[in-house]
């Protein structure tokens, strides 16, 4: 290519709740030239299709819809001098922060002094959970269905079964009911609902939609269009129990069976990923294993609310700006590791500079419980850094704790009786 790459101080990849906040965070911390690259035609990411309310309770202290939340953040970003480019998809990212970007206005190379990853996540598909049977039309992930119904005004079916009680599945159960579809039931593999308690109440119970726990779909039927699904109860090892199968007639199967951080670009840049979160390994500044590349929002780990992704975005943007201000070649200091222990699915960050004070940890438990202790202890010394009793702990809710004293050694987070 003839011309050299254009350059920017901070490039944020993704203009959803995390990316918009990251750009604002970077601007507010003094970065001059901040650019958001968003692959969709509009900013907002998945918020655009979330027409229900419940967004902004923490960030704006009121309940607004997804599009309103996105609009407020985007207006802040424009007002505060963030540059945005929509319809621009990053196809490649290198460890020295060279981006290949395609858009209708041109295919170009962009060099960034710092990068914030905010690409979000994608949905797990039928294939990833390996449901056998035929391959008819009418099997959709809940988020795709949400896009088709809310943004494209398309009628996706008449009778639906929803597999998985993730929040999008619950929201869609209510949405489809509003649109005149019959929702035959929501089936959940685990013995507990995966989505937020308020969504189980407001989206299922209020509409008499049955929720069957410890159940799954074991076969899809119908040659050209779904004609039904076979559901079965599962045992404690989550295996279908023979003899419990029954066919539920439907023409649509929606899947809300988990989200996967979309880290293909991170992989291309050689960023180390965590098998527990599916996102990058980060330190207390949300910096990945590649210097100058930060990560936030659902591409880092799956958040349960948009506000959480935004708060993380503000922090990542601020840290990216600080990284620039500090200049390259800052001295490498000793790092401590933060590991998940008993009944902790993951903890974030996974590492921190030794001696960090006021370290904030995000974590999720593996199984629900009441009246449990969460403790943080030195892996070698056994020294107690943090201890708190929680009245109620569920895997669907991310928790945040703050360790006041300086962490000088590797620590482990545990949740116990």
């Amino acid at each position: 290519m003839t011309a050299g790459p254009e350059t920017h101080d901070v490039v944020v990849i993704g203009g959803g709740p995390a990316g918009l906040a990251a750009a604002l965070g970077a601007r507010r911390a003094g970065a001059e030239d901040v650019l958001i690259l968003e692959r969709e035609r509009e900013l907002g990411g998945i918020l655009r299709q979330c027409v229900h309310d419940g967004f902004g309770l923490f960030l704006y202290k009121e309940s607004i819809s997804g599009p309103e939340y996105a609009e407020r953040l985007a207006e802040d970003a424009w007002r505060e001098g963030v540059r945005t480019r929509t319809g621009a998809m990053v196809l490649d990212l290198t460890a020295d922060r060279l981006l290949r970007v395609n858009s209708a206005d041109g295919y170009r190379l962009i060099r960034a002094r710092a990068v914030v990853l905010a690409m979000g996540c994608r949905e797990r598909t039928r294939e990833m959970i390996e449901i056998p049977g035929t391959r008819p039309a009418g099997v959709l992930t809940a988020g795709s269905a949400q896009h088709m119904v809310n943004l494209q005004n398309l009628r996706i079916g008449h009778d639906a079964v929803i597999l998985g009680s993730g929040d999008i599945g619950l929201i869609m159960a209510r949405r489809l009911t509003f649109e005149g579809m019959r929702v035959r039931g929501v089936f959940e593999l685990m013995p507990w609902a995966n989505g937020l308690e308020r969504n189980v109440r407001q989206c299922l119970r209020d509409f008499d939609i049955p929720l069957e726990l410890s159940s799954t779909v074991v076969e899809v039927r119908g040659r050209d269009r779904v004609s039904g699904v076979v559901v079965a109860r599962v045992d404690e090892a989550l295996r279908p129990i023979a003899g419990t199968e029954r066919e539920v007639a439907c023409d649509t199967l929606l899947l809300s069976v988990g989200l996967i951080p979309e880290n293909e670009l991170s992989r291309r840049a050689g960023i180390e990923l965590s098998p527990l979160t599916g996102g990058a390994l980060v330190d207390e500044t949300l910096m990945t294993s590649v210097p100058g590349i930060f990560s936030c929002g659902n591409v880092l780990h799956i958040h349960d609310i948009a506000d959480g992704a935004s708060f993380e975005g503000f922090a990542a943007g601020r840290r990216a700006a600080e990284f620039l201000a500090r200049g390259a070649g800052a001295a490498e200091s000793r790092r401590v590791r933060i590991a998940p222990g008993e009944n902790i699915r993951y903890v974030l960050p996974q590492a921190a500079q030794a001696g960090t004070e006021g370290l904030e940890l995000n974590f999720r438990v593996t199984v629900p419980g009441r009246g449990r202790w969460v403790t943080v202890r030195g892996a070698a010394s056994g020294a107690l850094y943090f201890r708190k009793k929680f009245a109620r702990l569920v895997p669907s809710e991310m928790l945040k704790i703050r360790i006041k004293r300086a962490v000088e050694e590797d620590v482990e987070v545990r949740c116990h009786g």
Binding site: M1, R39, G87, M89, L91, R100, N102, S103, A104, D105, G106, Y107, R108, L109, R122, E123, T125, R126, E127, M128, E130, P132, G133, T134, R135, P136, A137, G138, L140, T141, G143, S144, H147, M148, V149, L151, Q152, N153, L154, R155, I156, G157, H158, E179, G180, V218, R223, D224, R225, E264
Partner: protein, 498 residues
Amino acid sequence: MRPKIPVSAKSEPLPSAFDVVVVGGGVVGCAVLRELSRYGLRLLLLERESDLAEGISKGNSGVIHAGFNVPSGTLKARTNVEGLSRIYRLARELGVPHRRTGKLVVALADEDRPRLEELKAQGDRNGTPGLEIVDESGIRARAPRVRGRWALSSPHSGIISPYEFTIALAECALQNGARVLLETPLTAVDVRPEGFLLETPRGRFSARWVVNCAGLYSDEVAALAGIEDYRIYPYRGEYLITDKEAAAVLDIPVYPVPPRDDSFLGAHLTPTLEGHILLGPSSAYVEDKRDAATTRPVMDRLKAEAFLLVPELRRLLFIHAYAGLRPKLTDPQGRVKLADFIVEESRLRPRWVNLVGIESPGLTAAPALAARVIDIIGAREDLALRPDFRPDRPAVPKFALLDDDERVRRVAADRAWGEMVCRCEHVTRAEVTAAVRNPFGARSLDAVKRRTRCGMGRCQGGFCGPRLADILQAEGVPPEKISKRGSGSEMFYGRNKP
């Protein structure tokens, strides 16, 4: 009222009289059509489904076979080895992605070595070039992640996209004047002294010659002309596909020594050109010629056997499962033990040519089978080569495979190259609209997928599916006509709100 004439006839009205009508738009039918289009013949292909390659040709491994795994002296062996010598050039001429990867048949234990020797001897008899038995170091050199004691190495085996190849053959034929009708099943045949009168929902066509390449339905198509000689038994093969991160694990097809009994499926591992790995196929007779369901026990067995050969497959994600059907002439009861390809002019109905039982290695053999059809027709009448025959096709490049400079040029010339539709496979709007507007007018999501790879990636259409719905609407397809693979598989029931 005369039925509306679809797709390829949009530009000019379709004549009703043809020299040759090919029935079936799989790889064999399309190879026959393309070979026939070298001559000054009026040609028509009838396909019952909404796209080409919708039957056997889409549900196979896409392996270019070298001919060592078929019994010597058979038409299968001859057309396989002859097809091997033609298919690479043909793929280059047509601009179809392919790769001469080589292939390994692996024995996990010393006691299986004699089976490799037998295969090698058979291949040598058949004329398969370059076969050799290699030891553990030979396996490591060719496929470092594969476990095995001995292997038969076949350097000229390869991989190709079977549906891209099929579509390309038809596009070439089309460029040379052939006509193609999709969603046009043959429903009745009237045998006349001067030829055949073919009844379809799109009208009635006369043909001096009919070439029956109807795959799973070749027995039923022959029966329409009163030829009751054949019976096809559908034989299902299930597959699993990994994520594309698999390229580092395996880039050459690897088969275990062919199994002796049913306790072992003998699942094959086949890389795709994009870096996925296919596991399968399994083998089971089914009742219904369209029963392409996948089953839990087979999925589990495919994985267990594949992990034995390549332990590292365990860490890969599986992104898709599907099944294909093969047209067996051997029956489930085992009364017919061996069956060869059938390529013959009917004695009962002269000028009616049947290609029946074209299972593996039919993809590789297709160019040679097409040549056999030319021989049959050429034996009865003089075939004059057209001086203006074009061997290529108007191919649309894949954005994902272009270098930076070419991408810059394309986007500058046409903004549609700058609009990414499929984030997983990096497909642009330009490629999708080219597929929709191409001579076969891809109308279903699967048809777009096969031409562009849109929806084949790890999100399996989660993100690009809604975008394709928008693009198809922009191209004039109403929502209730957008289907997964043609009539009956509609995605939408119109709109929620007026």
